[in-house]
Amino acid sequence: MLVIVVENAPPRLRGRLAVWLLEVRAGVYVGKYGKKVREMLWRQVQEGIEHGNAVLAWATNTESGFDFETLGQNRRIPADMDGLRLVSFLPDGPKRKEEDAGPNAT
């Protein structure tokens, strides 16, 4: 079982993903494939995502039973808790500004 969620993705990528996966909601794709196919699908996302962002989650034999991988900028970032993978949600305020100010300041 695997799920891909894309945000702000170009229509050609969304169409491409729909070749193998079922789009159950806007930008949410579900399917059941092995490792090889999953990597091929993720390569499609990597090549086609442009300025959008994406996450891929799939079933594994880890303790939580799944793993996930992300691509592009998002306020939700992976967090590792001694081997258990969770997600941290960045605040909207100062942290964002710092990031924006970074390139301008230099």
């Binding site: 034999n61 880890t62 303790e63 939580s64 967090a79 808790m81 001694d82 081997g83 258990l84 969770l86 997600v87 941290s88 949600f89 960045l90 605040p91 305020g93 942290k95």
Partner: protein, 303 residues
């Protein structure tokens, strides 16, 4: 209206999560850790058996209530993850089970049978016949020392003896620190499972006189299969941060041995070996006015 929160069985959960620093709170009904920069990390407490809170954490009232509702045991730990105090209501609310456990512990013949069962489960062979609990404990101690030496040699770790000063964390050598960190994880999930099954952590059979005597009894059955090899394997690599490496490896060991699915059935097996009937409620006792609702969780969970 959303349906009420209910605990799920321990076997369907992730073993332990350590929270190092931050404010534990409830936001929009979800359990979150908020760090000083405002970064929020959701912890799916309903799917965690035991939450270990380290030194830099603060907990709100709402967070404790939520953890209790979903049957997640909160354990406050000190340096190296060694237990200090625990709370929450993951279970332990079944009088019939508490009385059953106590009746076995009070009956010398039943207690010996339960201890012999623990020995058999732990070493995968029947203990020698006609031995007292005291004698079995002696045989067990000698075997355990040998096993420590053997596993240390397998992983090429220099092993002196199991020693630690629990008042001073940094005092132990690396293998002992790894062992303490690993056993702390095992004790956490074992206590959560004992409570969820409706039994008392303090009423032990081999161990007595400690608030977690029964936790040590049950954890010992799994110790040499799970945490001891993990601790020595990590110690052999001379890690920078032994605790973290040990916890990651424990998670794998717990998954591979299906520990969470096995603890409660093992407890039942040990107690059943005592060969005493489960006490029936007295005839004149009054049944609850409001019948208990059907629950999804384990027997001891407060639904």
């Amino acid at each position: 209206m959303l349906p009420p929160l209910k605990p799920i069985p321990v076997k369907d959960r992730v073993s332990v999560v350590f929270v190092e620093k931050g404010q534990l709170d409830v936001l929009d009904g979800a359990f979150v850790v908020v760090d000083k920069h405002g970064v929020r990390t959701h912890i799916p407490v309903g799917g965690v058996a035991c939450l270990m809170l380290e030194i830099g954490t603060r907990v709100s009232h709402a967070a404790v209530v939520l953890a209790a509702r979903v049957g997640c045991l909160l354990v406050w730990v000190g340096e190296g993850g060694v237990r200090l105090y625990s709370a929450g209501q993951p279970g332990g609310a079944r009088a019939d089970r508490l009385l059953y456990q106590a009746s076995l512990a009070l009956d010398d013949a039943a207690r010996l049978k339960a201890v012999r069962k623990m020995y058999a489960l732990r070493f995968k062979e029947e203990p020698p016949a006609r031995r007292s609990v005291e004698q079995l404990r002696g045989i067990e101690g000698a075997r355990v020392r040998k096993m420590y030496e053997l596993i240390a040699r397998q992983h090429r770790v220099e092993w002196k003896w199991r020693n630690y000063d629990h008042t001073e964390w940094g005092s132990g050598d690396v293998p002992n620190r790894c062992l303490s960190a690993a056993t702390a994880c095992l004790y956490g999930v074992t206590e959560a499972a004992i409570l969820a099954a409706g039994y008392a952590p303090a009423v032990g059979f081999i161990h007595t006189g400690k608030p977690q005597s029964f936790v040590y009894d049950i954890a010992d059955i799994f110790k040499f299969e799970t945490v001891v090899p993990v601790a020595f394997r990590i110690a052999a690599t001379q890690p920078q941060a032994p605790e973290r490496a040990v916890r990651i490896a424990c998670r794998d060991a717990f998954r591979q041995t299906k520990l969470l699915a096995r603890i409660i059935p093992t407890i039942e097996q040990v107690l059943a070996a005592g060969d005493l009937p489960v006490p029936k409620p007295p005839e004149e006792s009054v049944a609850p006015a409001i019948p208990n609702k059907e629950q999804l969780g384990d027997a001891g969970h407060r639904g």
